[in-house]
């Protein structure tokens, strides 16, 4: 199992997301069915899911999902984890043999809390402590990779069609209130399971269909704030920008969306004065965080889910609502497959985010 041989392998994709805004949990079988509908958009070389609310019994623990190349890597990884965290429970993630899925790494999960002495001597907020540990673990422990590290959520991914991956991880046995899925069509042959989407950072997960023409600018901007884009994927940049704006700078998520897919200058010219000043300031200060190039993304976090298109809508994205449920997907058929009669179904405008938040939680 190698890391990706090539940088920034461009790929076409399929994405799908479903959320129950009342917080009620539902089975993973729906999302598997939805993404399976879009099989043609993938080529079997990558699939993955993010699920929220799946570990209610450990809802205050950070749930680490890990890939290990081999036994020595697992031992080294566990040494690292044990040094920094108290592990409440550890074990392999249950999987099922699926004919089309092969060469899987060792897949383990751990429910962890930062060790008190380590946390206080670092002087960091627990979230920041976990982020630093994840970065260090990925960098220093050979053959080990952190797939996800958020509380009461997890990412499940690998090389294969997404519906097969879903079968492999037996996701129909889990219930969550947010599910997102991704199917990949890379233009090179990845061997590495870590390259599939979603990309996660704490409880933030990103599934992404697209390619960033602005990658070079965005990455250098993130470097200034301490983010090293080691994965060399476009999705990583999207995740770090959301992390920078929402977690570190405390910005509301719709403002973060407006930085990444802002209105055009001639549209801003026509706005009323205070709106014009707002958007001008945003574009002026955060110009290097503008995402150029085609994309449709679904970003999920513990309080909700947002879907966003690039400013000139070069990738497809459809959204629908039924009662408390919010659906977004690359194709209408993927939504109709699991929700035959939505109350409302629409194609979001370029640059306009679709935002679903848990009831009672503000943006």
């Amino acid at each position: 199992m190698l890391r990706e041989n090539y940088e920034r392998v461009p790929s076409g994709c399929a994405i799908s997301g479903a959320m129950d805004r009342s917080g009620q949990r539902f089975s993973g079988s729906d999302i598997i069915q939805s993404i399976a509908m879009m099989r043609e958009r993938s080529n079997g070389l990558g699939g993955g899911f993010a699920a929220y609310g799946i570990y209610p019994e450990y809802e205050d623990h950070y749930a680490f999902h890990m890939f290990y190349n081999d036994e020595p890597a697992r031992e080294a990884g566990e040494r690292f984890l044990n040094e920094h965290f108290n592990i409440a429970e550890a074990g392999p993630i249950p999987t099922k043999k699926v004919r089309s899925i092969a060469n899987e790494p060792m897949i383990w999960r751990y429910f962890a809390q930062p060790k008190e002495e380590k946390l206080s001597s670092s002087g960091l907020h627990p979230d920041e402590f976990v982020v630093q540990c994840v970065i260090n673990l990925n960098k220093k422990v050979d053959g080990a990779f952190v797939v996800s590290s958020g509380k009461n959520m997890g990412a499940f991914k690998g090389v294969g069609y997404p519906e097969d991956i879903g079968e492999f991880y037996q996701l129909y046995n889990y219930s969550g209130y947010i599910w997102t899925a991704h199917g990949r069509f890379p233009t090179n042959t990845p061997g590495w399971w870590g390259g599939a989407h979603p990309f996660t950072l704490l409880d933030l997960s990103v599934v992404h269909n697209g390619e960033l023409s602005s990658y070079g600018s965005n990455r250098r901007y993130l470097n200034e704030f301490g983010y090293e884009c080691t994965m060399q994927t476009d999705t990583e940049v999207v995740a770090y920008l959301f992390d920078l704006f929402t977690r570190r700078q405390g910005m509301p998520i719709d403002v973060a969306c407006k930085i990444m897919a802002p209105p055009m200058w001639d549209e801003i010219e026509r706005m009323p004065e205070d709106e014009k000043a707002f958007y001008t300031a945003l574009r002026m200060v955060y110009g290097k965080a503008l995402l150029n190039g085609p994309f449709s993304i679904i970003v999920a976090f513990k309080n909700g889910m947002i879907a966003l298109n690039d400013r000139i809508k070069l990738r497809s994205l459809v959204a629908a609502e039924k009662g408390d449920m919010l659906y977004v997907a690359s194709e209408e058929s993927a939504i109709i497959e699991i929700c035959p009669n939505p109350d409302k179904i629409w194609a979001p405008k370029a640059g306009e985010p679709v935002i679903g938040m848990l009831e009672g939680v503000r943006v």
């Binding site: 390619e211 023409s213 600018s217 250098r220 200034e224 000043a277 002026m284 200060v285 290097k288 190039g293």
Partner: protein, 500 residues
Amino acid sequence: MISYILPEFLVLRDENRCIQCEVCVRQCANDVHYLDTKDGKVKSDDAKCVNCQRCVTFCPTHALTIIQNPQEFKANANWTKKAITEVQRQAETGAVLLTGMGNPEAYTVYWDKLVLNASQVTNPSIDPLREPMELKTYLGRKPDMLEFDKDGKLLTKLTPQLVLNAPIMFSAMSFGSVSLNTCESLARAATELGIYYNTGEGGLHSSLYRYGKNTIAQVASGRFGVNPDYLNAAAALEIKIGQGAKPGIGGHLPGEKVKAEVAATRMIPEGSDAISPAPHHDIYSIEDLRQLIYALKEATDYTKPVSVKIAAVNNVAAIASGIARAGADIIAIDGFRGGTGAAPLRIRDNVGIPIEMAIAAVDTRLKEEGIRHQVSLVAAGSIRNSADIVKAIALGADAVYIATSALIAIGCHMCQKCNTGKCNWGIATQDPQLVKRLNPNIGARRLVNLITAWEHEIKEILGGMGINSIESLRGNREMLRGVGLTQKELDILGIKAAGE
């Protein structure tokens, strides 16, 4: 006493075409052509010709051609004709060799070794004729982040910015080194285009105050023309520490060019040489620079951005980092190909480093220190066309300054004799007979044409890359590849080789 110096050029006159109209006689400021009354024929004295091509352009029958003097020395790859002639000239005059415009020597032009990306298949290119393509640029200091109140309204107070319709500005050319008509052309074009022009160290002539909104007022080491009205008339201020053509030394305006208007604007006596000191005598260290930056901000009530212009030298990255921390809002870096009205030839041709390297190094250094997003970078020093502009921005510049290309647009033919004050095109002169030759109506129109054409080309290139906003090109080294560069050069530029 015979001069050993060979004429540099020969004037060839096609007698079948020459109609003895004497236009060439009237137009040559160097008295090359004359009418021989004995036979009524117009003849030429080659030795005085500087190849400015005024006569070639104006001759109504195209009877004139100027060629390099074919007279050769014995073949010598080391002692070239140029090397020999320069020694002869100094033996005759005992003087420092002076010259004008930018370094013409055969150093590598890195722009020509960079190629650009285009999007295909996995990422669609964008059609600039049908989709908006945004070049709007804000130059100035930016905060680390914006803060909003609970209603989503902006709390952070923003510092003053320059707003440009395109990432291009006219670089510093002082009134004195160039004519008032040149300044008027630049000012009018900048106003019409929604960009800025720079006064250079000559101060601001009273007739140009009306273009103040599009003016950057320069404060150079001689402090020529610096008074509170001057500072407050402009949209931004620039402290000139150095320029690419002559790093380490100050400006030089020969007394012949210091006529009444020039003297009044610069606040110096008429006919005196205007020699700017090498350093600012109140800036001997970085903290002194900080003091001057804030003095200017105080004098203008913190309403205008302050830029600092430096020449690209060996440790330009460290200097730029210091300038950013000293409170400058904009840092302008002038590479060794930058032009000038007068400079010692040896310094112009040997001192300084290429702007391509300098911008790449400064952008990377500031990024590594986590301060790149706070200041704006402007690149200068031979930006010849729109592709150079795209490459400069991809290497890290926020905008570019152009000067030589602007002068070529309005008539300069690069004869490099600006220091003599006899510019036949009415640009680098104060002789009223010659100054008339640049009609600002025509000059402004040609500049607007040039920049408009470049804007369209930049939009085409951006669209081809799959980008519809210039912000996404800044520092985007992924869009560049190197051809024929060493690994070290690739590393410094921070780009990959073509094929990688």
